[in-house]
Every structure is written in structure tokens, then in C-alpha cells.
């Protein structure tokens, strides 16, 4: 049992852990976007009535994504240890933790991408077809740009989910803030320190959400764009008015 940590001691522990968390989430996010975006897009394109309709491919993709989303994250971490070792060379450390995080987030993000792309008005696809645009033109110049605000919101949601999962990945040798809170706060009864870390996580999540919302809103030229935090922080009345006006 140790005595209560001083503020300086806390900071010395928190800084490296913060970078570890941001590092593993950052890498995992990058990998998730690179793989999840095409997967989500193909879920839409290969579906029935899609531009690249291919029902067998759509089925297989759908099953893979659903299985991926069903596996509990803690089991994914353990099951992926050999794969992680093969990719990173070790199964310990924040770099290694990024692997299961990405694998867990890809199917989640792919579904969000699918929903975002499906929201794009089919009339726009038709307009580009009538101009003589190819499927690739439609994807590049219509589906992705029109879905961009929703895609940014999807990335925000995914990053925040990843921060939550990073705590779990951390406790299995990945480090980071979650691991710190668990080791000091829970195992060594440093309750104050634990709450300080939790507060830091709350700040990180809030800031990320605000940034994500702001970018999504800036990219959206549709007038208003719904923001969960905006609703929380006072513009509730305006949102309600918008809703009334839209009926």
C-alpha cells in the first residue's frame, strides 16, 4: 500500500500514458479508415440494386462484418495475439495494442460508412449517370463528397469508441490512460488519481467530439447539421425549432 501521490508524481505518470493512448488510438483510427472505408463502400455498391451489384460478395462481406462486430473485444485481443506478433513483432506495448483496436473498429466503422453512403440521394447518382459518369466517377465525385459530413461524424464516433476500448487493450499490456487508472486507482486504491485520469479522459472525449462536430458542420452545406453536444450545450431550443419548421 503506497501513500497518496503528489500532483507532480501524477503528471509524470499521466503524460506518457496520455501519449500512449493517443498513439494507439491514432494508429488504430488510421488503419480503420484505410480498410473500413472501402469495406463500407463495397457493402453499399455490391448490395442488391447497387452500382456494382454482386449479391454473393455482398453476403460474404456482410457476414464477415457481423462476425467481427459480435466478438467481445477482450476475446479479440487474446485471439489476435499471434497476428499482432506477426504484424508488430511483439504483443506488448501501445503499438501492439493498436492491432486489436483496429481489427475491432473496422467492422464498426464499415457499418457507419455504409449508413452514411446510403443516405446519399439516389437522384444524385442518377444525375451523374445521365451525364455519362462512370461508377468510379460516381463514387469519387458524388457518394464520397456528399457523404463527407456524415463520414466525419462516423470517424468521430469511432475514435471515441476506440478511446473506450483502449482502456481494455491497455490492461493487457498496452499501457495508456486506462491501464494507469486501473493499476493505480483500482489496484492501489489511489482513488483521487483514478478520478483525475477519468476527468482527463472526459476532457479528451469532449474535445474530440467538439472538433468532429465542427468539421462536419463546416463541410455540410445543407444549412444545419445535428450535433449531440450542441444539443447538450444550450442550442436545444434552436434544434427544436428546426424540427418544428421541417414538418
Amino acid at each position: 500500500m503506497s501513500s497518496t501521490l503528489t500532483w507532480d508524481q501524477m503528471q509524470d505518470l499521466m503524460w506518457p500514458a496520455t501519449w500512449e493512448t493517443l498513439g494507439m488510438v491514432g494508429i488504430a483510427t488510421a488503419a480503420t479508415i484505410v480498410i473500413g472505408l472501402p469495406v463500407g463502400l463495397f457493402l453499399v455498391l455490391t448490395d442488391k440494386g447497387g452500382l456494382l451489384q454482386n449479391v454473393p460478395v455482398a453476403r460474404v462481406l456482410g457476414v464477415i462484418v457481423n462476425v467481427g462486430r459480435s466478438i467481445p473485444f477482450i476475446i479479440l485481443i487474446v485471439a489476435l495475439i499471434p497476428f499482432t506478433r506477426w504484424v508488430v513483432g511483439t504483443s506488448l506495448g501501445w503499438q501492439a495494442a493498436a492491432v486489436p483496436l483496429a481489427v475491432g473498429a473496422i467492422p464498426f466503422f464499415a457499418r457507419l460508412v455504409e449508413t452514411s453512403v446510403r443516405e446519399v440521394d439516389g437522384g444524385l447518382v442518377e444525375a451523374v449517370q445521365s451525364m455519362g459518369g462512370s461508377t468510379w466517377t460516381i463514387v469519387r465525385k458524388t457518394l464520397l463528397p456528399e457523404a463527407l459530413p456524415a463520414l466525419v461524424a462516423s470517424v468521430t464516433t469511432t475514435v471515441i469508441a476506440l478511446i473506450g476500448y483502449s482502456a481494455m487493450a491497455g490492461t493487457v499490456g498496452g499501457g495508456g490512460l486506462g491501464d494507469l487508472a486501473y493499476r493505480y486507482g483500482y489496484l492501489r486504491f489511489q482513488t483521487t488519481f483514478m478520478w483525475v485520469i477519468v476527468a482527463e479522459l472526459v476532457v479528451i472525449v469532449t474535445v474530440l467530439q467538439l472538433i468532429g462536430d465542427r468539421i462536419a458542420r463546416r463541410l455540410s452545406h445543407r444549412g444545419s447539421y445535428p450535433s449531440p453536444l450542441g444539443l447538450l450545450f444550450g442550442s436545444r431550443r434552436r434544434a427544436a425549432d428546426d424540427e418544428l419548421a421541417s414538418h
Partner: protein, 341 residues
Amino acid sequence: MITTTDLTKVYRSQGREVTALAGVDLHVREGEVYGVVGTSGAGKSTLIRCVNMLERPSSGTVTVDGLDLTALGGHEQRAGSALREARRRIGMVFQHFNLLASRTAQENVELPLEIIGLDRAQRRRKAAELLDLVGLADKARSYPSQLSGGQKQRVGIARALAGDPKVLLSDEATSALDPETTRSILKLLRDLNQQLGLTVLLITHEMDVIKSVCDSAALMRGGRVVESGELTDLLATPGSELARELFPLSEFGSGHPGRTVLEITFQGDTSARPFVSQLARTYQIDINILGAAVETIAGRMVGRMRVELSGSHQDNVVPIGFLREQGLQVDVLDAANGAVA
């Protein structure tokens, strides 16, 4: 310019078959504005979507500017490059505008130019010209959400003209607009037709649209064209349904039993002659005018008059003959129900 021959389209969904087009022969001549009317579900949209192969016909052919589009390869969603090339020469405007919300008016007009492969400077210049042509030069930097419905449709028209098309397809382009905006958009279409020699095929459910801009029209019902032709010819065709719709006199009185009711249609120079007084003088008969209207249809003065003569149809064979000799179109109505005898 546009010819469809025996065009059919059968939709199959969940084992059910819907015949949207049951053998449509349409002939749109170069430089004319051709309107298609019909009740909801008649197959109008299906027809116009078959013209640029957004919908692949089940059978029959579509020829646009001498090119048989049905012969070009590709699947509905994955058009072959020959078909894509052909589509660049066919502009299309939509009921709900279908503008990209992520692009400004100017950028929306540039999209087809990007597809054609013009460089940045050329695209800018051409898009600016087109926006000027549709009267929206000052809105180039606005996003669609900042434009009114009429302005959005102008952008849609500018975009459709980007590939210098010979043909413009329009599916209910004015149905989402108020009457005044509708008029200004129709005037724009008419101007473009005259300035650029653009052939326009438009779908509408409003007879007023046909009346104000079309040279020719077709009436669709149950996947078939039941009547078609130039408006002036249609108006001169006894019993023409389109003419009756274009120029309804049904709100006028339908006369009394035992008398003869005539519907007289006159066009162009015949409208100037005082045939009613001539008729009365020549045959010493009383003519009761039930109603009359004069309108400009397809750029010509057209009048229609409903009159009542005493006596039965048989008693009035000679006066009716006299009117027909004057070059007037005379329909004899059954006084009891107002239908053509």
C-alpha cells in the same frame, strides 16, 4: 431526333410483373419541344428514362440523333463507355433538381465538364457562360441550400447544357415549383430551344405546360401513347382528347334537349372572320352562344366556341356544312351529355 419503336418495359419485382411501357412509338423531330402528358403511372417517367437508358427497355429500340442507344452495351447500373459517351450529348433535368449539396452552383455545372475532361480554366469559363445563359451569373458561388427552387432548377438546366447536348430531357422539371417560377423556367426552356436549336422532350402532368411551350404532344395511358401529334393538328382533329384537355369548354353550358350544340374550333386567319353573323344571315337561324375562349397555343391563336342551334342535328346539316366549308372544325355534341356525337 428521338425515335422509339415498339418500346416495352416490364418491371419484375417479387415475382410480380408490371408492364410500364407496352409498345411505345414516339417520334420527336429536331428542334421541337415535345410534351408527354398522362395520368400518374401511365409510364411517362419510364419512357423518358428509357431515352437515355437510365432504364433499359425490355424490347424495342431508342434512337437519339441517329444513334441506336439500345445497341450500345452495358447494364443499367454499369453503362458501357459508348453509352456513357452518348449520354454526354443528352442533357437531363429532374423534378427534384438533383444538385450536389457539397458543391456550389458553379461547381455543380462544372461536374459534367469534369467528366468530359476539360481542364480547370476551360471548365470555369464554360460554367460561367452557362450560368449567365440561365440568368444566374450572380449566384455562381452559392450552395444549393442557399438557392430558391427556381434558381436550383436553373442550375440544373445549366448543368444539363454543359455537354452541348442536342437533346434535353425533362421529367416534371417544374412540378416542384410555384406557377410564376414555372412560367419563367418554361420560358427559359423555350428560349433555349429557339436560341440553341435544342430538341426538348418533357414530361408533365399540367396541360398548361404543354399549352405554353410545346410544339407537339403525346398522351399516354396504361403504357401506351394513345394520341400524339403537333398541337395545331391535334386541335384540328375532331374528337381529339388532347385538344379537349388543352382547351376545355366543359365549364360552359351544354344546351337544351331537342337542339343542336356545336363546338367550333378556329385557328389562325379563320379566327378573324365573322362566321357567326354570316351563318345567321345566310340561313336565317338563331344562334345561341354558350361559351367561347381564345388562347395562344404553340404560338398560334386558337379559338373555340360552343353554340346552340335550334332544331335537331338533321335539321342543321346544311349550316354545319357551311361552317366546315369556311375551314372551321366543327364537332357536334350530343346535347344531353356533352359528349361528341
